[in-house]
Amino acid sequence: MISLKRRDILRSGVAAAAFVSSIGRSWAQDRKSVRIGYAISKTGPNAGGAGITTLPNYLLWAKEVQDAGGLELPDGSRLPLEVVEYDDRSSAEEVVRAVERLANEDKVDFILAPWGTGFNLAAAPLFDRYGFPQLAVSAVTDKAPQFVQRWKKSFWMLGGGHDYAKALATIIAEASKAGTLNGKVAMVSVADGFGIDLVTAARPAFQAAALEIVYDKTYPIGTSDFTPMINEAKASGADSFVAFSYPPDTFALTQQSQIADFNPKLLYLGVGTSFPVYSKNNGANATGILSLGGVDPTSEANADYRTRHEAATGIAPDYWASVITYASLQMLQEAIRRKGLDREAVAAEIASGSFETVLGETKLEDNQLRKIWWVGQWQNGKFVGVAPGDHAGASPLILPRQAWQKA
């Protein structure tokens, strides 16, 4: 585990930078470092999510840039990173204040996005006012096109509820047409931003795909016992079960479905399914379970990224937003290499440029990343992308999933 203290000036590359800058001119002469700041939930209810998807990638990236001798600038010189880190304590007011502080007091060159849809929105007006590009990864929102209009330098990289719901509806509808499934769906959702966004998108999407929703309930965040819902879903006659859930719910649903001997042919669970710990805890039982996200199992860049992530931070990345977070940092890094520290130019480059990242060739459309995996499935101990099926590296979907194996 590496841990960065605030203003922990990572000077490992200072000597190298000094050498390089003596060849290239300008940049390194008027400044000694590039300041990167971010506010992230290290405590409070959001710390669990931020701690797996966002923070480790920020640390990994900072370490790698430093090991490489610093951030490369257009003239080929390198400047070491100076990282300023704040804890937003899972409070919107703290996010706002921390971003103000980063922009005005610490005078950082770039600010990395906070974790979560709500906090990215809370921070967006400030990023906009001070002219910082905002690479919002851990934010699922259908309103991204409007936000892009409002905040020109905001980038939304994880799609919206409709994208995920539509892809799932297509999968269920096709399997029902083929006779694998019976066209009936039972679904539950967590009464919080993510769950409601997805379920409100899923209802029309399922109906448009001529699927019958036979059970549709929402449960409060923090629910620990899902037995009543599982029993109802089991009795409903649906053989597709969809849960737009948060990690603790996802884990509990998995365990309690096994107890209740609930074996839907298609099982789709929410956030947490793509965590490495999910497969570790459930072993072969994870196989066939669907969720959001996924990776291309044949991609060497991705496999290499996963190895480096685990080596640097001590934990494995998740199979959904982690790799995209890292890719967003690579884009920022490359845009700085091309355009320097001018935020305006960097933002324009991120919007229009094409980048080679761990995701492969990456290019934004209307400030949004659209080429991502909407549905993934656990296959052979990996969570692989299955939809959209025409996406390079897509794995074939396996349905129906096997019944729970008794331990």
């Binding site: 409060p220 016992d225 009543p228 509990a252 309690q256 107890i259």
Partner: protein, 290 residues
């Protein structure tokens, strides 16, 4: 369906009761409003997880380590942190505020230590997640353990409190510390014992729930609040009250989830809690006046 709902409600209630019984001892007898109670639960959960993940030790065995360790921890916390506050407190209200503030600080300290040592990630493992058939309803063995433990520990403590001299002394302290000391009861020691017992119960609860519930270094507050509600509903210091309030709450949540709307379970919890308080301002089994 009804039988299923009732049985799963009781099992859920067992977890709630197990989590609340320690707090009712700490608050009812030792008169310490322990806001860091949930953190003790989480510490025990991490202990069980670590032993399971590194040594493969069954959480059931961890109980035998955790319960004495929880007792010792409670004993220590009381001695170091609470005793000076109790000694200088002139009024019960003053002690209440002091203990809220001090244990609020303790909450942050424990949380911070957990964050530094385990990080903020969701922690979960699965143990004894096997179905047990009870009257045709499939229940999880790990949750049944929680229910059984709640009933056994609750019963044992109730028995000890009502049938032994030692227990009578503890109850005397809970009724009136001043009069108790007049009849020769070592109030300080009694309170310390009760607080330590509460710690032991919290540790037992933490170990058991870690088998089936996902937790993080910062989720202790959730447990404290659930426990507080049950303690208040059941009457402060009343162990059987906590047990039955926990079961009632579990039943209510499950019945509402089954027959009304799973979205209203928590609203039911708080609604029920508020209704009981308005109906009987000192809880289901509380004394008429404090």
């Amino acid at each position: 369906m009804l039988v299923t709902a009732i049985l799963s409600g009781l099992v859920l209630g067992g977890t709630y009761a197990l989590l609340a019984m320690g707090l009712t001892l700490q608050y009812g007898i030792a008169r310490i409003m322990n806001l860091a109670y949930g953190e003790l639960i989480i510490v025990a959960a991490f202990l069980a997880y670590t032993l399971f993940a590194t040594l493969g030790l069954s959480p059931v065995w961890t109980l035998f380590i955790a319960i004495p360790a929880g007792f010792a921890l409670g004993w220590g916390i009381y001695g170091v942190l609470m005793q000076p506050l109790v000694r200088r407190a002139r009024t019960p209200a003053g002690l209440e505020i002091d203990s809220i503030l001090a244990t609020f600080g303790l909450l942050f300290v424990i949380q911070g230590l957990l964050l530094v040592s385990f990080g903020a990630n969701f922690t979960s493992y699965s143990y004894l997640n096997v179905a047990v058939d009870v009257f045709g309803t499939k229940l999880a063995a790990n949750r049944l353990i929680a229910l059984a433990l709640a009933v056994v520990l609750g019963g044992a403590i109730y028995f000890a409190l009502t049938r032994t001299l030692w227990g009578t002394a503890l109850r005397a302290v809970s009724v009136s510390p001043v009069s108790a000391s007049l009849v020769g009861i070592d109030v300080d020691r009694a309170a310390r014992t009760a607080f330590a017992l509460g710690g032991a119960l919290a540790a037992a609860g933490g170990v058991v729930i870690s088998m089936y519930q996902t937790f993080t270094a910062t989720s202790g507050v959730v447990f404290t609040m659930k426990a507080l509600i049950i303690v208040i509903m059941g009457g402060v210091g009343n162990i059987l009250g906590a047990l039955s309030a926990g079961l009632v709450l579990g039943l209510a949540e499950t019945l509402v989830a089954t027959y009304v709307d799973p979205g209203l379970t928590l609203a039911t919890t708080y609604g029920l809690f508020i209704a009981i308080l308005l109906w009987r301002p000192t809880g289901l089994f509380g004394r008429a006046a404090r």
